[in-house]
């Protein structure tokens, strides 16, 4: 059962630590403005011949890229944060203290990542507000319901990958393969900064194996074109199926990794 007071304790801990780094608030929030401006100006130079593949999403390259970059960053965080927090606590020496408490390991790993989800979510909203107010990003067609559902299902997928990644960190310490594979595949095959339709046919087939492709596709269509849940049913069903398979598997894998770490005495090593 979710213990809200524990969740509150984790958020308070991380918020207090975050605020204690004076520059962190400024750099992590306002630092996002510069990539936005970069893509805004790149969008002005994009040759018109790519417009064909963008037409499905309204034809504006900046809007296309903004959604791609903002959500890929957010999903990437979801994949990496669980292992990052495990490793941070290992290196800081706090993991042993956390694991000797009366809270189970899964809850500790989940709750340790919550603040980052809230913080990065706030930064993501900030990026959209700045883009809408100053860079001509048009959100007037947004279908909020289908956008939220896509976001929830996508998080289900990427949090599962994140839990795999945390388990991988416990076993391999460094160089765990899950987030590395995800990062490499997403940037090329996920369609973060270009439509996958412009890839060669052979490569395009591989894009169907990359979950972020479905997420970005559905998010662009729901935010820019106002697609309803029904219109996005293909993407949403695929995301749902991936999440429903990956989530329990990831939890099992994580439990196995913790048990292996405790048996071999390597849980606290980094």
């Amino acid at each position: 059962m979710m213990r809200l007071y524990k969740l509150q304790a984790f958020i308070k801990r991380d918020f207090t630590i975050f605020l204690s780094y004076k520059m962190a608030l400024i750099t992590t929030t306002f630092g996002t403005v510069f990539p936005l401006l970069t893509y805004f100006f790149i969008a002005k130079m994009v040759p018109s011949k790519t417009e064909g593949s963008l037409a499905l999403y309204g034809g504006d390259y900046f809007s296309f890229t903004l959604i791609g970059i903002a959500f890929t960053t957010y999903f990437m965080m979801a994949v990496q944060e669980f292992s990052a927090t495990t490793r941070r606590d290992q290196m800081a020496g706090c993991l042993e203290a956390l694991l000797s408490s009366q809270t189970d390991t899964k809850t500790i790993i989940f709750m340790s990542a919550i603040f980052k989800f809230i913080h990065n979510g706030t930064v993501l909203i900030f990026m959209f507000i700045v883009s809408a107010l100053f860079l001509g990003f048009d959100m007037s067609n947004i279908n909020i319901l289908s956008t939220l559902l896509t976001l929830i299902l996508s998080l289900g997928v990427f949090i599962s990958l994140g839990i795999f990644s945390a388990g991988g960190t416990i076993i391999f310490k460094q160089g765990e393969p899950f987030s590395i594979v995800f990062g490499a595949l997403s940037s090329l095959l996920g369609g973060a900064v270009f439509p996958v339709a412009i890839l060669p046919d052979g490569l395009q087939k591989f894009t169907y194996l990359v979950p972020i492709k479905y997420s970005l596709d559905a998010l662009r269509l729901s935010i820019l074109q106002g697609y309803s849940i029904q219109m996005l049913s293909n993407q949403l069903i695929i995301l749902f199926c991936i999440a429903i398979v990956l989530f329990p598997l990831s939890l099992k894998f994580f439990e196995w990794a913790v048990e292996k770490g405790k048996k071999s005495g390597t849980l606290m090593q980094y």
Binding site: Y5, A9, L99, G265
Partner: protein, 266 residues
């Protein structure tokens, strides 16, 4: 009640680069515990003695649920620490000797409030408990200071307070005065003997190299060597036989004398 039956703990020895190629699927192991059997009763106050690498910390970590034994069973109350880890942990408070095991950018009080929530305390109960423990370990005037600014002695006091948050039946202290100067070490020993152990029902397990600490805090010793318990008896018994704990320790750490002692015991 703690019951350990034939506890074996083996750690994989990290491979060298060449071995990843020449022996990719084989692992070498180091046996840290080689069949430990012991029964610890409620209220026992036991000092785990022995040289570095004897297996004291490993054994205490198994009791605390931080490690699972490679084989054998360790029961805390009625719970197997490998199978019902969380339930077993509810009986145990662990005072780690790791100075870095707190959040340096939180104050002492904020650290305790956080760990208290993890130990299922909330609201007024949590604040009252933290307040009580801060007073108990004498940190009331520095509770709002960042942990980063704490001295080693203060860090250790806070670690003791954290170990007591859940009011555990069993308190494990892993070399609580290892990094402290003699005066701070004496202060910590006083806190443990006078305040922590006011409840006679609480079991106290301490890994230590300090015989003075063992004498002040404990009534029994458990001497470990090469991953095995070679002696488990009361300090009174030892003092009757060897005149002092120091003489006993010298005997036990001298291999020839130890063999003689073991022959006498047998």
């Amino acid at each position: 009640m703690i019951s350990a039956k034939n506890i074996v703990m083996q750690f994989p020895i990290p491979k060298r680069y060449i071995e990843y190629i020449t022996k990719p699927f084989s692992n070498n192991y180091f046996k840290a515990l080689k069949g430990v059997d012991i029964e610890i009763r409620p209220g026992d106050r036991i000092a785990f003695l022995g040289a570095n690498g004897a297996g004291k910390t490993t054994f205490l970590k198994i009791i605390g649920g931080l490690l699972y034994p490679s084989s054998g069973t360790l029961m805390v109350d009625t719970y197997d620490t490998s199978k019902d880890n969380l339930k077993a942990r509810k009986h145990v408070g662990f005072v780690l000797n790791e100075e870095r095991s707190f959040y340096w950018r939180l104050t002492g009080e904020e650290n305790l409030l956080f760990f208290g929530a993890l130990d299922n305390l909330k609201g007024k109960e949590l604040h009252a408990k933290v307040e009580e423990l801060i007073k108990m370990v004498g940190l009331e005037f520095s509770k709002n200071k960042l942990f980063a600014g704490y001295s080693s002695g203060m860090k250790q006091r806070l670690a003791i307070a954290r170990g007591l948050l859940s009011n555990p039946d069993i308190l494990i202290l892993d070399e609580p005065t290892r990094t402290l100067d003699p005066i701070s070490a004496k202060d910590i020993a006083t806190i443990i003997s006078e305040r922590v152990h006011e409840s006679k029902e609480r079991t106290l397990l301490i890994a230590t190299h300090s015989l003075a600490e063992a004498k002040i805090l404990c009534d029994k010793i458990c001497f470990m060597k090469d991953g095995q318990i070679v002696d488990f008896c009361s300090i009174k018994e030892i003092e009757g036989k060897y005149n002092s704990l120091e003489n006993y320790y010298k005997t036990m750490t001298n291999t020839k004398n130890q063999q003689y002692h073991l022959a006498q015991v047998k």
